[in-house]
Amino acid sequence: MLDGSYVGRYRSPMRRGETPSEIAVVDLRVCDRCGLCLPLCPPEAIHLNLSDLVVDRSTCTGCRKCIAPCPVGALTMVAA
């Protein structure tokens, strides 16, 4: 895979087949594209795509580690 493969380094808190009840979403009207949340994400589910923040729904585990540190409050949890 061209975008690199780094799944496997992170041990998910969920059992196989289990899915999170909530996942993180970004409000791009509020997000400043500072990138602070990227290294905070244990499964590396957040990346920037042409400077816009993207949260990968399939790898977000709903751990909330990105929510409070956002300096502008652009990340929130929604039902998965």
């Binding site: 895979m1 061209l2 975008d3 690199g4 780094y6 380094r9 400043d32 500072c34 990138g35 602070l36 949340c37 990227l38 290294p39 905070l40 994400c41 244990p42 590396e44 990346h47 920037l48 042409l50 400077s51 580690k65 409070a68 540190p69 956002c70 300096p71 502008v72 409050g73």
Partner: protein
């Protein structure tokens, strides 16, 4: 598909210095410096303060167009607002990062580095011959480039390290969430930086005033969200400014993360080096990263050029870069990190009383050594903090 010898991703201080040093070390190599944004030096996500000695290793700030202000004093503000002046000498400079970063990139370009702006790296994978194929996206469309050495200088949001399989994640307790305004019309000493600590002001971090000109300053703060009361960094800053500088005109505004961790455990792999914020090469006590980034960039650029010239870009060879960085500054950062952790145990009352102790020393005798000695005698809580430095 085009080929290049050294591709540096990110044209901040780490990347620009890395590219220039690689080209200088081996002028026959093709060195490309990549910048995602449309211009080098924007947007600025920085308080722009830098120490005098470290800066002078790379450029002479006297009269330079990329300097905003010379700093002669540091004024600490205790949580109860009492002021402590601690230094009266050539402390440092407030940069104009837009111009400074452009200056560094232009200098690299003048030495023969190809600077590509408005182009982002979108991913990379290793080829059978040991080179990396890096996919680029930019104004001119998509293309791929085959590279012998990749230097990841892509900042807090670092992707190069991830793609190369390095662990660049940060524990939440070591991430400072920062917000900053440029304020106009404020009453400050234009030759001093101000730093204020306090649980209610900036939990886990500090608030700063870095003057750009008389009456104009970068005014910001950093907090550790885990220690916050539910407000985000911008809300803490708005409350602090409302109290200290009511009625000031807000012009610029920025937010960002400062990683107050220690250097990642591995900064290299086959054909890849990471430098600067991307490798968490930041003083974890002060949050200062500019000089650290330039020093790391210098090591990375030279190591990359030498590796290409020797036709050996193996992780085994490149591990010397990591060792060199740790000797130069990485090991010091580990000490600062331990001091940071020890200071986190002290409360606002301690800092208020420390300010009174220091202010009892006459101003002309207030050297850092004397402050340290007085503080240790009067405040035994500091002994375990000091001890961390020697561990």
């Amino acid at each position: 598909m085009r080929d290049t010898d050294v591709l540096v991703i990110g044209a901040g201080p780490a990347g620009a210095v890395a590219a220039q040093e690689a080209k200088r070390a081996a002028p026959t190599l093709d060195v490309v410096l990549l910048e995602r944004d449309g211009a080098v030096g924007t947007p600025v996500r920085c308080a722009e303060g830098v120490g005098d000695a470290g800066l002078r290793e790379f450029a002479n700030p006297v009269g330079a167009p990329w300097v905003a202000r010379k700093i002669r004093r540091v004024i600490f503000l205790a949580p109860d607002d009492s002021e402590v002046k601690v230094a009266e000498r050539d402390v440092g400079w407030i940069l104009d990062r837009t111009r400074f970063d452009a200056f560094l990139a232009e200098r690299a370009s003048a030495d023969g580095v190809e600077v590509l702006v408005g182009t982002e790296a979108a991913g990379m994978n290793r080829l059978a011959d040991g080179r990396w194929e890096v996919r680029l996206r930019g104004a001119l469309g998509d293309e791929s480039v085959r590279v012998r050495m990749v230097i990841g200088a892509d900042g807090v949001e670092a992707m190069v390290g991830r793609w190369a399989g390095l662990d660049t994640r940060v524990p939440a307790r070591d991430m400072e969430s920062c917000a900053q305004y440029v304020l106009r019309g404020i009453d400050i000493d234009p030759d001093a930086i101000y730093l204020q600590f306090g649980r209610a002001i900036a939990p886990g971090g500090y608030a700063w005033v870095f003057p750009r000109a008389p009456g104009i300053a970068n005014v910001g703060l950093g907090i550790v969200a885990l220690k916050a009361d539910g407000r985000n960094a911008r809300e803490y800053l708005d409350d602090w400014i409302a109290r200290r500088y009511p009625g000031a005109e807000q012009t610029g505004y920025t937010v960002g993360g400062v990683i107050t961790h220690t250097t990642i455990t591995q900064t290299y792999t086959d054909g890849v080096l990471v430098a600067g914020d991307a490798a968490h090469m930041i003083n974890p006590l002060s949050g200062g990263g500019i000089v650290n980034a330039m020093k790391a960039g210098r090591l990375a650029g030279r190591a990359a050029a030498a590796a290409v010239c020797a036709a050996d870009t193996s992780a085994r060879r490149l591990s010397a870069y990591h060792a060199e960085w740790m000797r130069l500054l990485g090991d010091d950062h580990l000490k600062y990190y331990r001091i940071k952790q020890a200071l986190e145990e002290l409360d606002d009352d301690f800092f208020n009383s420390l300010a009174r102790t220091v202010n009892a020393i006459p101003g002309d005798k207030r050297t850092l050594g004397r402050i340290f000695a007085h503080a240790l005698v009067r405040h035994p809580q500091l002994i375990p903090v000091a001890a961390k430095f020697f561990l």
